[in-house]
Symmetry: C2
Subunit: 198 residues, 2 copies
């Protein structure tokens, strides 16, 4: 299992945004949608052993699960439509019980710290950082959980929570990439290292 | 210089498509838009030494140049809007003279074979193929030119043209990726191999 937690600092927490203005009025939801694409999609297929957790403004987390996703398409608008559908179901997410939104998509009333704590039980948290060990020299961990941020850096609080939980720190390369591009590189690293769980 | 030629087999050749239906009525233009993103964008920056050539239905080629692009954003809708703008200028593209559409974006009345022949003068054409030499074991070529296809395979004619021009055949890994994901992996390979032309 490969998991990715992506923090959306300006992401919407209500469904009243336009699917035609994802990069504007929807708080750069386009960035998060591309992360779902990078995390789950292959050419003509889906990574059945991958999950992407989008943390929306530290209030809700929408989980996309490759194993159970159906009729999910990689374009930004399609993914954003699923997030919008999730935000129409907030009343059904009570405590840590998720709202089932559509096949493979669940909404949790959980902030970053709660999501990280819960997800971290099932694997090894890896921080992606420009000062980390280069991917090419690193040995993949079992059931890795990667934590990334949208177009903003981690806040000091988020960085502290992450540093406390992360077992390792890796760097994807000299160029600073977008979160979704980083996820694509990480998947490729695991694929070529012989991890065939896709 | 790093260049990418991407073939859009169902891509529009007229501007009368909806920016809200890129994955449907616009012939999977979403795929090509993601390729422009992967080819040109870094986090908070642009790859100034990269170009992406989108071949639209073997009729027109829209060239995006990282060196001169301005006010270009990575979301699918924004890139599609530039393609739409280019297709409003087809009357200005005469012979091999392009129409200047917006900063860094030009429209050429050129099919795949003409585009490949022209671009190939400035570098080494590399075919990306699952049977190729693994990236990790290959030495990058100077001024590489990568040729990719959208969600469809190359046609027999395209494959023949490419095989005739390509100096090398490389494979990005065991998993079959989308074109834009492949471009991200290729950029990362060049970045980490010490090519600092980004």
């Amino acid at each position: 299992m490969r998991q990715f937690i992506v923090l959306g600092h300006e992401a919407p927490t209500a469904p009243d945004f336009s699917l035609s203005d994802l990069a504007g009025g929807a708080g750069r939801l386009d960035v998060l949608c591309r992360c779902v694409n990078a995390g789950l999609f292959l050419s003509h297929g889906i990574r059945e052993d991958s999950r992407v957790h989008l943390v929306l403004n530290d209030e809700y987390t929408v989980r996309f699960d490759g194993a159970t996703a159906k009729r999910l398409y990689p374009n930004e608008r399609a993914v954003a439509s699923r997030v919008q559908g999730a935000l129409e179901s907030t009343a059904d997410a009570i405590g840590h019980q998720p709202a089932e939104v559509s096949p493979g998509v669940e909404l949790y009333r959980m902030d970053f710290a709660s999501t990280l704590e819960t997800v971290a039980r099932d694997g090894t948290v890896v921080e992606l950082h420009e000062d980390g060990e280069p991917l090419a020299e690193a040995e993949p961990a079992e059931n890795p959980i990667f934590v990334l941020s949208d177009h903003h850096d981690f806040t000091d609080t988020e960085a502290a929570v992450l540093a406390e939980t992360a077992a390792r720190r890796l760097s994807v390369g000299p160029a600073v990439l977008h979160a979704d591009q980083t996820m694509t590189v990480v998947h490729n690293w695991l694929d070529t290292a012989g991890y065939t769980d896709y």
